[in-house]
């Protein structure tokens, strides 16, 4: 059982508060740290990893401080976001060096490379790797000592869908084995697919915590705005407003489009194509107009 405790942690850089009084406990299983870019996720992960001192508060792993305590890395594996690695090494040399620094040998390195399925490119220089390959070699370096806590900062950035799925499987497996896995992401779908538990950070604050279904519901229950262009806007508007899933429609003459406010997300998304087909109306544009993550998060914070 490995538990990472974050206790009233704040971190500021000059006048800028990056992390504001966050308290949370990360236990075994996969936890997603969700938040828009610039929310303070990386700062928080850097503090969890012992790379940055909290301005106030404390971070401990099973009671041991992580800051200024290099022995803690026997239990922690870290996959940083930044790209820079020892590019002049081959993948195998990089993972072997990681193993040696843990007092392990070539066997552990080879096992880790096999786990991330990078054996086929292990003798190529890291400088020739794609982003996804780098990510996997970083992962192998972090797994080589079989840590009980794994911290990953935006691990899916730059990965193609297949690599993403592989990494998700791997993290899921590690969570099932009882390890504590924490990864950060600004993409809701990634977190939803993988995490058992979600911590949401917005503007340096701890905005929500808990089961993803609850948070997902909070996100989907809010009113959604759509911009729709069609072959007959007025006929479409009249048919849509008759249904309770729609709260309001504005006919925008200058834009030549409809601004629709839907209150029942699931029902509206099923209704729109059906109505259009029944009335013989062609849909030219259907785009969610406030789907930016920031608006989703600000809605969450208000809820």
């Amino acid at each position: 059982m490995t538990t990472l405790s974050i206790d009233h942690v704040s971190r500021w850089f000059g006048n800028v508060v990056a992390v504001n009084d966050i308290t949370m406990t990360i236990g075994p299983g996969v936890t997603g740290l969700l938040g828009p870019n610039g929310a303070g996720k990386s700062t928080l992960i850097n503090m969890m990893a012992g790379f940055l001192a909290p301005s106030t508060g404390s971070i401990t792993l099973d009671g041991q401080p992580v800051w200024r305590n290099e022995q803690i890395y026997r239990h922690i594996g870290i996959v940083p976001e930044r790209e820079a690695m020892y590019d002049f090494l081959t993948g195998r040399e990089f993972v072997l060096a990681s193993a040696e620094l843990h007092g392990l040998g070539a066997k552990a390195a080879q096992k880790a490379l096999a786990t991330v399925e990078m054996e086929y490119a292990q003798d190529r220089k890291i400088s020739t790797y794609s982003k996804g390959m780098r990510q996997r070699v970083k992962m192998a370096g972090a797994l080589v000592h079989e840590p009980s806590l794994l911290l990953l900062d935006e691990p899916f950035n730059g990965m193609d869908p297949r690599q993403r799925m592989q990494l998700m499987d791997l993290l899921r497996r590690m969570g099932d084995e009882g390890r504590t896995v924490l990864f950060s992401s600004h993409i809701l779908e990634e977190v939803e697919q993988l995490a058992w538990h979600i911590e949401v950070i917005v503007a340096g604050r701890h905005a929500a915590s808990g089961d993803f279904r609850r948070i997902r519901r909070l996100m989907t229950d809010r009113p959604h705005r759509y911009l729709v262009r069609s072959s007959d806007d007025r006929a479409l508007a009249a048919a849509l407003i008759a249904d309770p899933s729609t709260a309001g429609i504005e006919v925008d003459l200058t834009e030549g489009a409809l601004h629709i406010q839907a209150v029942d997300f699931g029902r509206f998304t099923a209704l729109l194509p059906k109505v259009a087909r029944d009335l013989g109306i062609r849909l030219h544009t259907v785009s969610p107009s406030d789907e930016s993550l920031e608006s989703v998060f600000s809605y969450l914070v208000a809820a």
Partner: protein, 239 residues
């Protein structure tokens, strides 16, 4: 205290990049100068002392020290790849000590060895001049490597500061302000060289006891402080 894996990574970082070319250029220049001087002026003890003292020890050794000392850790901190070292259960003092050994060895290899070769070319080690300056380069390598390793740990502009120290302080101030010479690695190394050569061809403004104490003090203090700096090194995110 010494970690072979850290050493291997440091050697490869230091000697694998363009730095190796810069490290090799100055020694090559020294030997070219030595050959030219010998061919034009013949073997002369005073000339040999001037070339080895004026170029090898005063300019080449500190610049090699800057490149090897800061290069042993600075680029890793700059690009953030140092996290892969720092996220391991390896004592920070071990990391610094190992990098110091690598920096010293590299500085010695690229400065003391060519100094000896140039000295032999210039006057065939007459009056022990080649050996004396080689010893001075070896001694200075240790102190420079420690100083510039600290600089590489503490500052993002380590190379600039290092070159300013090496060229402005050691060379310019040293020749203009007598007091500045007392606080100069070059003068301390010369005090040791004076013991080797004897005579008046190799002289220093500092006595041997003071020079020895200062050399040891600077090396130990710089290494210790670099270890402290690394323990508290902050790695900011990319947000």
């Amino acid at each position: 205290m010494y970690d072979p894996t850290v050493a291997r990574l440091t050697y490869r970082a230091l000697l694998g990049r363009r730095r190796a070319l810069v490290l090799g250029a100055l020694p090559l220049l020294l030997i070219v100068i030595a050959v030219a001087v010998r061919a034009l002026a013949g073997a002369d003890d005073q000339t040999a002392a001037n070339v080895l003292g004026g170029f090898a020890l005063a300019t080449m050794v500190p610049i090699i020290g800057v490149i090897a000392g800061t290069g042993a850790i600075g680029p890793e901190i700059d690009d953030g790849s140092v996290v892969y070292l720092l996220s391991k259960p390896v004592k920070r003092s071990t990391i610094i000590f190992t990098k110091l050994i690598v920096a010293i060895a590299s500085t010695m290899a690229f400065s003391a060895v060519p100094t000896l070769i140039a000295g032999l070319i210039l006057n065939g080690n007459g009056q022990q001049i080649a050996v004396a300056y080689t010893v001075a380069a070896l001694v200075a390598s240790i102190a420079y490597a420690a100083l510039f390793l600290l600089l590489g740990t503490a500052s993002r502009h380590a190379v600039v500061f290092g070159l300013v120290y090496a060229l402005v302080w050691e060379t310019l101030f040293g020749s203009l302000v007598p007091g500045a010479r007392t606080l100069s690695v070059q003068q301390w190394a010369l005090a040791v060289a004076h013991e080797v050569a004897g005579g008046d061809l190799v002289t220093s403004d500092v006595g041997l006891p003071a020079a020895t104490v200062l050399l040891v003090l600077v090396t130990v203090a710089a290494t210790w402080y670099a270890g402290q700096k690394l323990r508290a090194l902050t790695i900011a995110g990319e947000e």
